[in-house]
C-alpha cells in the first residue's frame, strides 16, 4: 500500500483543531467564491497559479500539508510560505477571511516541527540570538546615528524614535533613519533612541510562524519600554507600527505609536514642519500593505507629498490605496528567492515605472530594500526614496 499514491484526503480533525487554536478560526466562513485568488499578488505573476481559495477548505480538512511524498510535501510547504501577508485577499473577501492568518497557523505548526525553509530558520535564530534578523552585532545597532547628536532615550523625553532593523543596519536604509532624525531635529522634537538596547519588533518572525520566539522578544521589548519610561513611539517601519499598535497590547503593552508619515503630515498641517526647497520631480507613491490595507493610513503620505513644492504627484492606475500591489517582501518574502519571472516585485515595479515617474516614494524599509535590490539588476533611471528622505531634501 505504502508506495501507492493515496488519492483520498482523510479529514484530520486533530490537526484542524490545532490550526484553529493557532489562529485559523475563519476557515468555516469561506464560501469558495475565489475572489481572494484573483486579488492576490501571485495572480499578477502570470506564470504562477496560487490557490488562495483552497486554503480555508483544506485547513478545515486538516490537510494543509498532507502529502507523504517528500517532494510533494516540499511543494506544499512552499505554498504556505509564498504568502506575503499583504491582505489583498482579506481586503476583498466577502466574509472577511484572513487567509494570511490561516497560513500563519499552518506555519506555526511547521515551525513547531522545524519543517520550514532554511533561510527563514536562520533569521528566526538570529533574531532570537542577537535581536535582528541579519545576525549583525548588537553593539553596532546605533552606528547609523554616529555624529548626529542623537540622545539616548531617558525619562522626560517625549518620543522614542524606533528605526528597527533595516534602517539600523542596512546601508541604504540607514539614510532613512538619518533623514528622519534630521527632520525631527529641525522641528525641535523631543526624542531619543534606545540605541544598542533596541531589539527587533518581532513582526517578521511572527509572520514566519515562530510564535514562541516572537512572544519572548515582545515581552522583553515591552519590559524595556516600560523600564525606560516610554509613552510614545515613532516608527519608520509599518511593520513595527502594526505590531506595536495592534499586537503588543495583547501582551500588556501600553504606549502610543505613530508612523513617521502620520507625524510629519501633522507637523506640516500645523505649520511646524516647513518645506522650503522645491522638489521638481514626478513622484509616484507606493502604498505599503502594512501601512495601507492593514492600518488604513492612505492619506497622510499623500498629504506630505502633495505639500512639497514643485513635486508632481502620481498614482498607479488601478493599483493604489487599498487595491495597491505588494512589493513582495512581507511575511518573510524579503528573504525568499523565487525564479526571476516569478517575482511580485517585478510586476509592481513595472506598474510604478509605467506612470512615468522619476521617483518611487515609499514609506516602508521593506519596500525600499525590495525595490532597491531589484532595480540594481535593471537598467532603468527610476530612483526609490523614502518619504522622509524627500522631506529632508526640502528642508
Amino acid at each position: 500500500m505504502k508506495d501507492k499514491k493515496n488519492l483520498t484526503t482523510e479529514i484530520n480533525p486533530e490537526i484542524r483543531d490545532i490550526l484553529i487554536e493557532m489562529g485559523a478560526e475563519d476557515i468555516y466562513k469561506c464560501y469558495q467564491c475565489g475572489k481572494c485568488t484573483s486579488a492576490c499578488p501571485w495572480f499578477q505573476v502570470e506564470i504562477y497559479d496560487y490557490p488562495v481559495f483552497k486554503f480555508s477548505l483544506e485547513t478545515a480538512l486538516g490537510a494543509v500539508a498532507s502529502s507523504e511524498d517528500k517532494k510533494e510535501l516540499d511543494k506544499e510547504i512552499e505554498l504556505i510560505y509564498r504568502c506575503v501577508g499583504c491582505e489583498a485577499c482579506l481586503e476583498q473577501c466577502p466574509h472577511g477571511i484572513s487567509t494570511p492568518n490561516i497560513l500563519r497557523a499552518a506555519r506555526r505548526l511547521l515551525v513547531d516541527f522545524d519543517s520550514y525553509p532554511e533561510t527563514l530558520k536562520s533569521i528566526v535564530q538570529k533574531t532570537h540570538n542577537v535581536g535582528n534578523p541579519f545576525g549583525e552585532h548588537r553593539e553596532n545597532r546605533a552606528d547609523w546615528a554616529k555624529g548626529l547628536n542623537v540622545p539616548d532615550f531617558q525619562q522626560g523625553i517625549e518620543y522614542l524614535y524606533f528605526p528597527c532593523c533595516l534602517p539600523a543596519y542596512e546601508t541604504r536604509n540607514q539614510k532613512v533613519a538619518q533623514a528622519t532624525v534630521g527632520i525631527l531635529q529641525k522641528c525641535e522634537v523631543s526624542f531619543g533612541i534606545l540605541g544598542v538596547k533596541e531589539t527587533c519588533c518581532g513582526e517578521v518572525i511572527r509572520r514566519i510562524g515562530a510564535e514562541n520566539i516572537f512572544e519572548e522578544v515582545t515581552k522583553a521589548n515591552i519590559k524595556e519600554f516600560k523600564d525606560s519610561g516610554v509613552k510614545k513611539v515613532l516608527v519608520t517601519s509599518p511593520h513595527c507600527f502594526t505590531t506595536f499598535k495592534n499586537e503588543y497590547p495583547d501582551f500588556g503593552a501600553d504606549f502610543e505609536v505613530l508612523h513617521t508619515t502620520q507625524y510629519f503630515s501633522h507637523l506640516i498641517d500645523t505649520g511646524k514642519l516647513k518645506l522650503n526647497k522645491s522638489f521638481d520631480k514626478k513622484v509616484v507613491y507606493h502604498d505599503p500593505c502594512t501601512l495601507g490595507r492593514k492600518n488604513n493610513i492612505y492619506e497622510e503620505p499623500r498629504n506630505i507629498l502633495k505639500n512639497i513644492p514643485g513635486l508632481e504627484f502620481l498614482e498607479v492606475e488601478n493599483f493604489n490605496r487599498n487595491l495597491s500591489l505588494c512589493c513582495g517582501a512581507g511575511s518573510g518574502g524579503l528573504w525568499l528567492e523565487w525564479e526571476k519571472d516569478e517575482r511580485i516585485v517585478n510586476v509592481r515595479l513595472k506598474q510604478l515605472m509605467d506612470t512615468g515617474a522619476d521617483i518611487i516614494a515609499v514609506a516602508c524599509p521593506y519596500c525600499l530594500q525590495m525595490f532597491e535590490e531589484t532595480l540594481k539588476s535593471m537598467d532603468v533611471d527610476i530612483i526609490v526614496m523614502d518619504i522622509s528622505e524627500i522631506i529632508f531634501e526640502c528642508l
Binding site: C33, T37, S38, F43, K54, G96, N318
Partner: protein, 660 residues
C-alpha cells in the same frame, strides 16, 4: 371589598408536574379577598370554561384570576368566558404560572411558592380593576397607497375593484416603477411593458382611484381607521387641465440631460415625460435643469411652442389634505450603487453597467431601440461578462443578504444578449445560480442548453480597463485556473436596496425597518404583509428583495388585509390606555412631547392635558414621564403596581418559611 375567584389550571402536566397544585389552592384560599378557589386539568377546555362561568354566577364573583399560561395565549378566551357569565371582561386577570414558572423550573419546591407569589400579586391587581369597555373607532374605508410600482398598482386596483376609494401617490412623474424599465421578464420572457401598461391605464381610469404623481407624503397623523394625511404635489409647471400630452414642448426644449428612466443610457429634455407610455401622459419641468429657472426667465421655448398655453412657470407646490383609514407602503427598491465597487471601477468605467442599464439597452423602446451598443463608443459588444452577487452576500464590505432576483435576471440578460447578438459571447461569473421560483430552474436549464453561454464559477476580484477593453480577473474555482477575460462590456448584477427615502418615510409613518431599510413585517412567516403598527401594510420590494410574481402576490395580500379592516364600520380598541386625573395635572405638557402617538392634547381653556382615546396605544410612556402622578394607565395604576410589588416581596419572604 371585591369578591375574587381564582381558577388554577394544571395544563395537563405542563404546570402540575412542577407546581404542587393542591398546595397552591390551599394557600390561595386563605388569601384576603379570595372567596373561591379551585383547580382543573384544562381550564381553557369547554368544561373548564363552564366551571368558571358557573362559579362567577353562583359565588357572585366580581373579579377573577385564572392561573394558567401566558395571557398572550388565552387572555381573550377567558375574558369572553367571563363576559358570557355577565362579568365585565376587564375584571378578568391571568396569572402566568406556566411560561414564567413551571416551564423554567425543575424543582417543585421552588416552583410552588413562586406560583403562589405570582397568583397573589395578580389578585392584588384584580382587586382594583374597574369595569371597562373597548374604545370604538369608526373606520374610514379609504386607503392610501404609497408608491406606484407594480406593487402599488396591484394593491390599488384590488382595493378599488372592491368598491373602496384609493389615493395612490407616486414620487416620479409616472406610475410603473422599475417594471416599466424592464425589457422582457423571466421566466416566460414576456414583454414587461405589454403586461404592465394595461394595468397602468386601468389605474388612471379607475373611478375609485385618485392618482397623484410627482407627489410625496408630507405629513401623517392619527391611527388605524383614521389617518389625516398631507400630500405635497410638486409643481410640474404644466397645467394638466390644458395639456394634451402632444409632446411638442419636449421636442423643442434645448436642454438635454441623462434620463433617469433610461438609467443614464439615454437623454431626456428639461421638460419631459419619462417614457412614451407614461401614465399620466403629461410632461413635467425639471426645475434643476431648466434654463428658464436657472437663468432668470431666459428661454421659455416650451411656453412659446405650446399652443394650448399649458406651461405655467408660476405654478407652486400644492399641499393636499386627505383622510384615510389604512396605508399600503409600496415604495420599492433601487440598485446598490456601483460607486461602492472600487474593484470593479467604482462606476467610472462607462462600459461597466448595472442590470437596469442593460434592461434599457435590451428594451425595444429604449434609447438604442433594443440594439445593444456599449456606452463608450457605441460599438456592438462581442463579448459581455455578467457578474453575479455584486454587493449581495458580502457581509464584510457590502450587504449580507441575497437579493434573490439577480441570478435570474443575469441568466435572462445572458440569454437575451445572445438573441440580440448571436455571434456574441456571454460569460457568466457566479458563485452559484439560485433559481428558487416556479419554472425558474427550467428557465436556467433552457438558457444553458440553448444559449451557448459560458458559465464560470468564481467571483472576479478586479475589472481592469485596458484601452477600450475591460479585463475581468477571476479564477475558475472548479478547475483552479486563472482567467483574465477580455470583454467589451461588463454587466454587474447589483443587489437590491430599499428606495432612497424609505428610512425617512419609515420615521414619518412610525413603522419599523430592518438594518438595511426594508420595511419589517409583523411576523416573518405568519404576518408577512402587515407592519407591526396597526393600519400599515407592506407590498413588494419595499419589504425585501423579490421578483414580480411575489411582489404582485404580496400586493394582493396587503389589499386583502386592508379590505378586512374596511369590512366593518367600526373597530374596537383596547381600553387599557392612559387617563388623566384633572385635579392633579399641572399642565406642564411633558406627556405631549413624550407620547409617540400624538395622543395628547392641551386643553387651552382648562390648562390641563387630555388623552385622545382613539390614538392612545396604551404604551405607558406618558405615565412614567408625568411628574405629578396625574397620568395613570387604566387597570394598571400606580397603586395597583405598588400593591403587586409589595405582595411579591412579602410573599417571597414568606415563601422561604413555607414548606412546599
Amino acid at each position: 371589598m371585591k369578591k375574587i375567584g381564582v381558577f388554577v389550571c394544571h395544563c395537563g402536566r405542563n404546570i402540575s408536574a412542577t407546581v404542587n397544585i393542591n398546595k397552591v389552592v390551599e394557600e390561595i384560599k386563605k388569601y384576603p379577598g379570595v372567596v373561591f378557589c379551585t383547580d382543573y386539568q384544562y381550564m381553557c377546555s369547554d368544561p373548564g370554561q363552564d366551571l368558571i362561568k358557573k362559579n362567577i354566577k353562583d359565588k357572585k364573583l366580581d373579579g377573577i384570576v385564572i392561573a394558567a399560561c401566558s395571557p398572550s395565549l388565552h387572555e381573550l378566551t377567558f375574558r369572553n368566558t367571563a363576559e358570557k357569565a355577565g362579568l365585565n371582561p376587564y375584571l378578568t386577570e391571568i396569572a402566568n404560572i406556566r411560561e414564567q414558572c413551571s416551564w423554567v423550573h425543575s424543582d417543585i419546591k421552588e416552583a410552588t411558592p413562586k406560583a403562589i407569589s405570582i397568583i397573589e400579586s395578580i389578585i392584588e391587581k384584580a382587586k382594583l380593576n374597574e369595569s371597562l369597555s373597548p374604545v370604538k373607532v369608526k373606520v374610514n374605508p379609504k386607503a392610501l397607497v404609497i408608491g406606484g410600482g407594480i406593487a402599488g398598482i396591484q394593491a390599488s386596483l384590488d382595493i378599488a375593484n372592491s368598491g373602496h376609494k384609493v389615493i395612490l401617490i407616486e414620487k416620479s412623474p409616472s406610475i410603473g416603477g422599475h417594471m416599466a424599465q424592464l425589457s422582457e421578464t423571466f421566466p416566460t420572457l414576456d414583454c414587461s411593458q405589454c403586461i404592465l401598461t394595461p394595468k397602468m391605464v386601468e389605474v388612471f381610469q379607475h373611478e375609485n382611484i385618485n392618482l397623484y404623481v410627482y407627489s410625496e407624503l408630507e405629513e401623517i397623523s392619527g391611527s388605524v381607521g383614521n389617518f389625516k394625511i398631507k400630500i405635497r404635489r410638486k409643481a410640474s409647471y404644466v397645467d394638466n387641465s390644458k395639456c394634451t400630452g402632444c409632446g411638442v414642448c419636449s421636442e423643442k426644449c434645448p436642454v438635454s440631460v441623462d434620463s433617469e428612466f433610461d438609467e443614464g443610457m439615454g437623454k431626456r429634455k428639461a421638460i419631459y415625460t419619462p417614457f412614451p407610455q407614461a401614465v399620466p401622459n403629461k410632461p413635467v419641468i425639471d426645475k434643476e435643469n431648466c434654463t428658464y429657472f436657472l437663468k432668470d426667465g431666459k428661454c421659455g421655448v416650451c411656453q412659446v411652442v405650446c399652443t394650448l398655453n399649458a406651461i405655467d412657470f408660476k405654478q407652486k407646490d400644492e399641499i393636499i389634505e386627505e383622510e384615510v383609514g389604512a396605508v399600503v407602503v409600496a415604495t420599492g427598491y433601487e440598485l446598490y450603487p456601483m460607486k461602492n465597487m472600487l474593484e470593479y471601477g467604482a462606476g467610472e468605467y462607462p462600459d461597466v453597467i448595472n442590470g437596469l442599464q442593460f434592461e434599457r439597452l435590451l428594451s425595444a423602446s429604449g434609447p438604442t431601440q433594443g440594439e445593444i451598443h456599449r456606452p463608450s463608443d457605441n460599438k456592438i459588444p462581442k463579448r459581455i461578462a455578467f457578474i453575479s452577487c455584486v454587493g449581495s452576500r458580502d457581509p464584510e464590505h457590502h450587504l449580507p443578504y441575497c437579493s434573490k432576483i439577480c441570478c435570474m435576471y443575469m441568466v435572462k440578460h445572458a440569454l437575451l444578449y445572445k438573441e440580440h447578438v448571436p455571434d456574441g459571447e456571454a460569460i457568466v461569473f457566479s458563485i452559484d445560480i439560485r433559481t428558487s421560483g416556479k419554472d425558474y430552474e427550467e428557465f436556467l436549464t433552457r438558457a444553458k442548453e440553448e444559449g451557448n453561454i459560458l458559465y464560470i464559477r468564481g467571483k472576479p476580484a478586479r475589472i481592469i480597463k485596458q484601452g477600450n477593453d475591460l479585463v475581468v480577473w477571476c479564477i475558475n474555482t472548479l478547475t483552479g485556473k486563472q482567467l483574465r477575460v477580455k470583454c467589451d462590456m461588463v454587466v454587474l448584477s447589483m443587489s437590491m436596496v430599499p428606495s432612497s427615502g424609505a428610512l425617512d418615510l419609515a420615521k414619518a409613518l412610525r413603522i419599523h425597518t430592518n438594518d438595511f431599510g426594508f420595511f419589517t413585517e409583523a411576523h416573518p412567516k405568519l404576518r408577512p404583509v402587515e407592519s407591526l403598527v396597526p393600519g400599515f401594510y407592506l407590498a413588494g420590494t419595499a419589504q425585501g428583495p423579490k421578483d414580480i410574481p411575489d411582489t404582485v402576490s404580496q400586493a394582493s395580500g396587503a389589499a386583502a388585509k386592508v379590505l378586512t379592516l374596511f369590512s366593518s364600520d367600526e373597530i374596537s380598541h383596547s381600553p387599557i390606555i392612559a387617563s388623566v386625573d384633572e385635579d392633579l395635572c399641572s399642565g406642564c405638557g411633558i406627556c405631549i412631547t413624550t407620547c409617540p402617538y400624538d395622543a395628547r392634547e392641551m386643553d387651552e381653556r382648562k390648562k390641563i392635558v387630555s388623552v385622545n382615546e382613539i390614538l392612545c396605544e396604551g404604551c405607558g410612556a406618558c405615565i412614567s414621564a408625568c411628574p405629578s402622578g396625574a397620568s395613570q394607565q387604566k387597570n394598571l395604576t400606580d397603586i395597583q403596581i405598588d400593591n403587586m410589588i409589595s405582595v411579591l416581596l412579602r410573599s417571597n419572604a414568606k415563601a422561604l418559611e413555607r414548606e412546599c
